[in-house]
Amino acid sequence: MPGLDPGIHAFLSPDQYVDGRVKPGHDAAGTAGVVMTYIAKPKFHHPGLKKNELGYTHRDYEGKISTLCAGCGHDSITASIIEACYELSIEPHRVAKISGIGCSSKTPDYFLGNSHGFNSVHGRMPSVLTGANLANRDLIYLGVSGDGDSASIGFGQFAHSIRRGVNMTYIVENNGVYGLTKGQFSATADRGSKSKKGVVNTDNAIDLVAIALQLGATFVARSFSGDKTQLVPLIAAAIQHKGASFIDVISPCIAFNNHAGSTKSFDYVREHNDAVNRLDVLVGREPIHVDYAPGTVQVVEQHDGSRIALRKLDADYDPHDRVGAMTFLQKHAAKGQIVTGLLYVDPEAEDLHAHLNTVDTPLNTLDAKALCPGSAALDKINASLR
């Protein structure tokens, strides 16, 4: 019989634990006798937790307990994603979270527990996300990737998903190092930076923000995992943006890239962070209460009507000038500064669905009646082939 070799299938441990149904609620941790290799979060929470517009609490946006190292920058980004989704009152299950492979790509398991997640193939998150987006344009697509994932093995997929204008929020959790394989340089590691073992990197770094700008991303930002007040509104604005949003988040690796000589350590990034602006995402239609000095706040209205209030920190910086942004970045990078903030936004962005002129109804809901031309059309085709 195909496939069934009557061989001896030997297992070292009994198979009585393979069916998760022995555990009530499946995710409740600690049931005696159950061997697990994941950590579920306890269900209880404080009764007085604040609720958002939809009646959800923070807890409703959380996922499993992180298995990353204590103090990892990625966990701060996870917290920021949770915060942004809570603030925007997004229905958690309307988000599809897609990642590649690596430390960063593990994180979608740690937020939005009621969302479908897809931990795909190393470097291939962009193509999987593109396909998912084509199938159902109504969901929110959150792509989470790392610097190994997006700047090395998946550099091509990163580039092409950006140039197609896929409606997504593409977050790179950038630590300049391969964590899961214990500390090799990644392609975003700066030239001259030193590894934990003392090796000096001689290769030039890839700046994903510069590439995203060049390839036509319609929302480009950089932030730092240690600066949640900057990061949360950036993520929220990126989610609201209808087009290819890209955020490069410098996220120090506590285990392999947080030492002196690293340019991705907490200390180094704090010292060299040059924020060009701060933003607030405006929820609702009420007029904004401006409490900044006149001329320092710019309100950007996006295509879907959502608004961002942008507080300028650098008077010369114009986030609607793509070419200017590229020049600004290059100049500051040469001075060793890490430019952060909302670097570019095109409020009139178009996405891949607009380019393909696809129907408003998600493709995955079209039935045979909508898709199959039927026998009459086929008879005509047959007749034309004689």
Binding site: Y38, A135, N136, N364
Partner: protein
Amino acid sequence: MSVQSPISSVNDFVVRFANVNGSGSASANELFARAILRHGVPVSPRNIFPSNIQGLPTWYEVRVTEAGHLGARGGVDMMVAMNPQTWDKDVASIEPGGYLFYDSTKPMPSSKFRADITVIGVPLTAITNSTYTDPRQRQLFKNIIYLGALSALLEMDPKLIEQLIGEQYKGKEKLLSSNVHALHLGRDWALQNLKCPIGLRVKKADKVGDRIFLEGNSAAALGAVYGGATVCAWYPITPSSSLAEAFTNHCKKLRHDPETGQAKYAIVQAEDELASIGIVIGASWNGARAFTTTSGPGISLMTEFIGLSYFAEIPAVIMNVQRAGPSTGMPTRTQQCDIIACAYASHGDTKHVLLFPEDPAEAFEFAATAFDLAERLQTVIFVMLDLDIGMNHRLCRPLRWDDARQYDRGKVMTREMLEEGRDFGRYLDVDGDGIPFRTYPGTHPTKGSYFTRGTSRDRYARYSEEGPVYADNMQRLVRKFETAQDLVPRPLQANAAKPTKYGVIYFGSTAPAMDEAIEILDARGHHLDRLRIRAFPFHSSVASFIADHDFVYVVEQNRDAQLRQLIVNENGIDPVRLVPILHYDGTPITARFIANAIGDHQDHLKVTPLRKAVS
């Protein structure tokens, strides 16, 4: 040298056109094939072309076959030699007694011809140049002029050709009349200056019936439209590109909302095959029917994702239009050489479903069915075409669609089912068929979400590295593959008139050559039962067919007897009982080749009594 009498044959001969790539000959040659079809005489044309766009030699071969033998025959009865570059080889390839048609504008030394063939010279360039001044017109109409001359030589009905030209240029009066004019220029010259007809003739018959004439790639693309595919991601590669392009064209006609003009499909030309299959997997994961088209090198690139499709159980359809490998191999030549590569694609323990269509009609059916199978089995399905089926027009039965047919969307747990409190475990086998339920992203606010991953996990999709959990899942995947065995198209068996100890197994594009070979072998006194395999995993009838015969020939178009290997491996068959018959030079397999190979082997098996042998 004995005098060779010219070949005389009605409705049974091979004409080969030797052209230069990019000279616009393809449409004239195709017109020739279609015109013969309009006489009620079946034809089987084949493109033989290099991996190049312009300047290199290209051939178009038309087998005229009233008997309906649609495989390649081998040999050339008439050569239309329009390419000086390949002249010597082309002339040498003509059968003794055959015909050579050439442009006689420039005189050729007699050493360039053969004594045992009939040479027919028509001053094509002279006729063309005296009629047309535009260089492009000269080139294009030269092709129609030789078609006109051929119609006279082969005694074809010019009205039927005119009718075809009329259909082709409907509404473009100027083009229509100028083409008809060119046709008659050639025809009249031949009638006035040559002995018409020659020994090869086309006579009206009634052997085409309601059959249609199309390429397998176009048919498979149409199958994808009918099968409900909404997402197609692909990367250009010969010989599969025309499949994606045909899908685009079919969709433009059949898949736009009549009111809004919006598209009920999305096609992405990806940056490489990795992205193509990634997009397909992402779309299928999200509940759309998606496919990619590729050929061997693309399959090699896709293997990591194919393993993900298998292990994470995500539907995907891959249409593999096979070409000669390995590596870049012979990109424009046909083979059935990716059987093992696809059946076991990816690292770790993997097995995949393969479908083997024999012609465009079956390519249409299998392409549509592939989407049902992919969603039912939640895994990758390969539709294994090849260049011979994909890029050649083939006469085949009309395409059929039952309007009552529903798409099988497989086991999808809906919001209502979750509300009812149905237990959802993404990798939980609730029915014993190895197939779990899945949910589409966004189904329910609190129930039915799960995390898809290529790492091992338990029945509820939670990460696990526990040995028993892993093994439990791997065993279920085997059960699922067993389920597939009864869902895929079954093999078709045809028995010899008399009981026989010998059988033959074949598949895919070998079918027409095999059918013809059976007739030749019957005439030689070798009778065989035959089984056409249409899918992998193999149905139990494959093993019983082998058990019922002493020897079974396995005919395939690759060097390593890949289907035979798969049968031996998967069914535990003694290899000695399966005799490989292998054709792998990149040309389509012929009936002559099969009949000779099997016939010779049979002759050796037969012990002829001495008395009979000497009498």
